[in-house]
Amino acid sequence: MDILGIFLSSASFILAPTTIAYALATLGLALHFGYGGLLNMGMAGFMALGAYGYAIGVLTFGLPWYFAAFVGIAASIVFALILGIPTLRLRGDYLAIVTIAAAEIVRLMLLSSAFGGVTGSADGLSGFNGPGGTVTNPTVGAGGFNEGNPIPEGVYGFVPFLDNERTWYLRIVGILILAIAIFVVWRLVNSPWGRVIKGIREDEDAVRSLGKNVFAYKLQVLIIGGVLGALGGLMLAFATNVNSSVYVTSLTFFLWTALLLGGAATVFGPLAGSIIFWVLQAFLGLLFPALASVGLMPFTTIQAAQIKFIIVGFALVLLVVFRPQGLFGNKKELTFVK
């Protein structure tokens, strides 16, 4: 058993593209739920639209990657509007059910063979990051994300961040996007605008009675958080193929776990939560099978690999029960969280 290897592999998730993608989407959830009180249980749908919007933009419309990325973002804005305009008047838990259902509708439509020509249905889409496209269709994916890579070919960095130019490019772009996103959200929530949305979280009728257009604020929150989700989806698409089986309800639940790990009403909590989530996932996902394979755990290695998901679920329960403000949330708040 290679303990050092397991540690290093896990540590590499500190700055992995998936971690950054989670951090972006979780930041969106923090804005939705932690600050705005919106129970968005459909973040996976926003991410799917970001990812597919980009992939379809490149493959079907032949757009360069930066325009295609905007297709993904625009799709998430349209989704937020379609979802928000009719439903933001509903009670909180109804919104949860509507968003989860809407995200499933998106996923099922992406999976359906009815639109297979564009979405690739069950196979998903690939080859959109370029350069050079796929073997069968060399023009496909021209203008993809990788074409913007200014880093010369080669392997850079140090263990556990020893990666090729493509991964570094992705990582740098991801960190830049994330840094800007965190700064913007930090600015927003510490402004008078942020005060209004926190007020709405506490009691929207009270805020309404003070003359604020609660509905418009909620819609703004839904859109901004949704765009962050789409950015997360974009990161996932930049990194690899898109497939509707990724954007399932469980993905949303994992994001919620990361959110509550870090602290829902914090700006850095989503990043911290995502890092902890992924590093732990990777660590347990490697450790248990390794233990099982050397006979230290009485399970098959397949079973051992699944234990981490069981732990995620129960960790979420324990977090909400015992530390609702998250690892980095304001302790003072805990006294009043109900």
């Binding site: 605008w193 007020g199 009675s209 003359g211």
Partner: protein, 300 residues
Amino acid sequence: MSSKPTSSSPIKSTGLHVGEIKPGVAKKDPILIADGVRRQFGGLVAVDVDHVEIPRNAITALIGPNGAGKTTFFNLLTGFDQPNEGKWSFNGKSLAKVSAFRVARRGLIRTFQLTKALGLLTVMDNMKLGSTEQSGEKLSASLFPFLWTKKETEIEAKATEILQRFKLDTKKDDFAASLSGGQRKLLEMARALMTDPELVMLDEPMAGVNPALTESLLEHILGLKAQGMTVLFVEHDMHMVRHIADWVIVMAEGRVVAEGAPDEVMKNPAVIDAYLGSHQDVDLGTVTGRITLPKISKEK
């Protein structure tokens, strides 16, 4: 019409009405007029007000047994609920179909029977939220602090001043959730004042406030009138109503059953009827106190 309040015996505004006193009597200078406002919940007619006018720059008490429809009437007037039929206007402009936040922007602010302090915001943030002048509340401006920090300082100064009046200034950095029930009522009222309202509608502002605070709350209400505002408030305690109200409107089973100056209206048989049914031997002041009348309605 206005007067400087004193705690012992505030000077009442008189001569508010025109013509014979009866339910729906016209006022000399009404700020709010409701006409045929009706709200039904299934088979239950919760509010059915033929006509009522609220006098400007006076303190009007809205009384009536639990379930009379006072809160529902408040909700209807302020856009938090829509009536089945009826017209109502504020400062001569119709409020029908105007959403709650626009009603508030026109200067009609209400508080809630179940206090709505914003628990996980500090007392100061609660107050600042009341201000209507902060352009930084716009999404576009919020990202650029230089556009709004100056205003923020002004708002803070104003908030501090009001908090001092309400003796909440020492709590300004605490979460509103840490306040006592009575303090939250005070905060809600103070927050409403941040909007510089013309008409303040208070739904049971004294319920749950301890007697020591009640005194100062009454002072504040009188102070609002002194500053030129109009107050409409719901209260069950007849002694308090007598003490500060210039005018009393009595509701029962959704209708306005009586109106008049506080001392007169108490003698009105319709009022005694509404409150007591057959138990006419009991003193009104005691019965209409904080004790919930049995089995008239279930309040949430």
